[in-house]
Amino acid sequence: MSNDIRVKNGLSINLKGAPENIVKKAPFPKTVSINPSDFHLITPKMVVKVGDKVSAGDVVFFSKKNPEIKFCSPVSGEILDIVRGAKRRILEILINCDEKQIAISHKTSGFNKFSKNQILETLLNSGCWPFIKQRPYDIIADPKDSPKSIFISTLNTAPISADFEIVLNEQKEEFITGITALKKLTEGDLNICVEKNHNLFINEIDNVKIHNISGVHPAGNVGVQIHHIDPVNSGEKVWVVGAEDVALIGKLFLTGEYNPTRTIAVSGPPVKYPQYYKTIVGSSLSEIIKDAGIDTDLNLRFINGDVLTGRSVEKDNYLGFYNNTLSVLREGNHYRMFGWIPFINNAVPSIYKTSFSWLFPNKKYDLDTNLNGEERAFVVTGEMEDVFPMDIFPMQLLKECMSGNIEKMENLGIYEVAPEDFALIDYSSSSKIEAQKIIRDGLDLMISEVG
């Protein structure tokens, strides 16, 4: 069964440095990191100490609030450091990789006959549970909930981000196995959203609902898809899993081992060889950066994730837990004389026709991180709706989030949105409103007040 959804309100930003269809195997990293800031609102309770030996799949820490949710080492090696910040908050756990990799084994043979609880237990104990996130709130799912449906988006419309057709190309068996396991977690539908006219193997999967999506970004955002297919009402939970994460869950059930490999697209205007690398979750960036031909002497920004929603990292840092894209941009800390005059500076595209950029719809842009202005009060109306394809009033919702009015936020649809859905509003706002941050703070307020 398949349904068609077409997204009209949005924006596809053409950037230079889109990843080419080449997949290389990155050298095995010397160090990997687990960064708790990838897991929103999780307070880590450490299991290991510095100097401990771990195998791949050994628990490194668990969630203080929900001890069932465990976070495991992606490699075998030795705990090199536990980096702490103010108030001893854990910032990062570094693991030195062994030459010879060993992994602990989970019992997964005959998983086809597993009950829901056995599947849950295997996912929780193996360290695969954090791959499952929930709406509302865009946080790691609570294993005690029963979701009304599960969503998987296999298309990515964010600028110069990883194409899941390439990522999933050689992981067909793993992906299908992952779907079989996930199917047991819900009594509702398992929805897979695919790009219209895709070349993936998704149509061969039985007992799932397949939705054909077309249109501009944010068509690939799973939140937009949920809104149009099976919207989240207050009190309901929907679980979402990333496309490659499904394959990683599948791999667990096929092999019994936690082996979180990651196919990562390295992209961005300053990247000489934008292409894909096969590596491990949390591996160090330096080898990949060198191989992709990025001049690290330049003033660059490295981003775990796409250019609209990612988290910036230093060049000697590590890959994140979820992202399939490593974006690179030039820092834009320069002045532009009279840069605000309309029709003069056409090097930056705009949703307004106040530059001539709209004359060249296929031109690829070399954008940097300049804010192109200063933050101001909300003035212009209607621009947010143009890039927000949901039946929600984005500006009104943002204002209620800022004033912290919980009842109004609930009425206006806070349960249906995630920060990433507001990324284009960040981009296009003429008042330079930090919409993603406002929504994240709003969601956190809802979690603490409503739960």
């Binding site: 009402n233 207050s234 705009s350 003035v379 009033f393 009104q396």
Partner: protein, 385 residues
């Protein structure tokens, strides 16, 4: 040393922790006028659109220029043509400039001084909104209004119309129209009647100027202007409102760049045209039987609808709300013209009235959205049960 380095040297004592930190917004306003600052993205999306509030506001000013230039010319044209002396275009432009440029200067000096003071006092950056408001205010005044009245009206508009509500983005009424309404009620002899609409009409005997709507309101049926004069603007009126043609050029710039709301503009035209047509059928007085199309091209209707009703802060903010708001602006404009002989021009009061009602319109549009969400939940619960 290049300009950037000179600016950085000047700015030094205004930096964080320095002696004059408090006054930084004033210096920053000039600095960011010269250079788009080197700020980079800190949260959220790492890349940003080229547009900012400066660029949107300057686009509105560009859209205003055709009407302004024509207004300057028309001021001289009306004066000399009524005197009956020979004159060149240059004479007309010079006469108009001598009248209007000082008004613009007063408006900007008074308004920006208050804006800067509030920015320093409240510790935020100077907002660009006043660049538009400050130009709009003289453009909608009668040409002979004394400069001090312009100054007082501007001060009222910025202090009471805007800052009292919390500053840019918070005001309920359009600040430029607030200035005009203040002058209209505080100094009625300078703002209405048949002696204010043409330059020097109250001083020189040969010159008398009454607007078309004023003539109609006093029961005159023979209008000494034809439709093309009404459309191109060779008629008496507030400085920049007369030429519907020039306003339309501005409207095209606003709609084309996406800066102005076409929904409000089209909605207002529909509202006014339909109301005008209905009154044409009734035809009880001169203004009722005045052709509905002519209603659209005389007086301040076109100017008000394109540049004042579309002010995003004081207009309705939802898409549906914009349509309703626009249609009602058009409807009330004609209603006030037809039914209230004291105010032959209704567009100012119509827009101010709808400014007040815009939040209510939005409220009901948003309530409908909330209701959809509630119903969806009820339905979903029924399905589960």
């Amino acid at each position: 040393m290049n300009i950037r380095q000179i600016l950085d040297t000047i700015k030094k004592p205004f930096g964080k922790g320095e002696k004059f930190e408090k006054y930084a917004p004033a210096v920053n306003a000039f600095d960011t006028f010269l250079f788009v600052p080197n700020h980079t993205t800190k949260h959220g999306a790492h890349i940003r659109d080229a547009v900012d509030l400066k660029r949107t506001m300057i686009t509105v000013i560009i859209a205003l220029l055709p009407a302004l230039f024509y207004g300057i010319y028309n001021t001289g044209y009306q004066y000399y043509s009524q005197l009956g002396t020979a004159f060149s275009t240059m004479d007309a432009v010079i006469h108009g400039s001598l009248k209007i440029v000082p008004m613009i200067a007063v408006s900007y000096i008074v308004g920006l001084a208050i804006e800067f003071a509030f920015a320093i006092f409240r510790g935020h950056e100077v907002n660009e909104g006043y660049l538009v408001t400050g130009l709009l205010i003289p453009m909608i005044m009668p040409v002979d209004i004394p400069l001090w009245m312009v100054g007082v009206s501007v001060a009222f508009a910025v202090l009471i119309g805007k800052e009292a509500f919390g500053g840019t983005g918070m005001n309920i009424l359009n600040p430029a129209l607030t200035a005009r309404a203040f002058a209209f009620f505080a100094y009625p002899t300078y703002m209405s009647g048949n002696k204010v609409w043409v330059s020097e009409a109250s001083n020189v005997d040969g010159v008398s100027g009454e607007t078309i709507l004023g003539m109609l309101a006093s029961g005159e049926s023979s209008i000494p202007y034809d439709v093309s004069q009404m459309f191109y603007g060779g008629i008496p009126g507030s400085i920049a409102e007369t030429s519907t043609f020039m306003v339309l050029i501005g409207a095209l710039i606003l709609i084309y760049t996406g800066v102005g709301s076409w929904r409000i503009m089209i909605g207002s035209v529909i509202g006014a045209a339909v109301t005008g047509l209905l009154f044409n059928l009734w035809g009880a007085n001169e203004l009722m039987s005045f052709n509905w199309f002519n209603h659209l091209i005389v007086g301040g209707f076109a100017f008000g609808v394109v540049f004042m009703a579309t002010d995003p802060v004081s207009a309705a903010q939802t898409t549906k709300g914009k349509w309703i708001y626009g249609i009602l602006v058009g409807l009330f404009c004609i209603l006030i013209r037809v039914f209230n002989p004291a105010y032959p021009e209704g567009v100012m009061l119509a827009i101010l009235l709808m400014n007040v009602f815009a939040p209510t319109i939005d409220h009901y549009v948003i309530e409908a959205n909330i209701k959809r969400r509630v119903n969806r939940k009820i339905k979903s619960n029924l399905n589960v049960a």
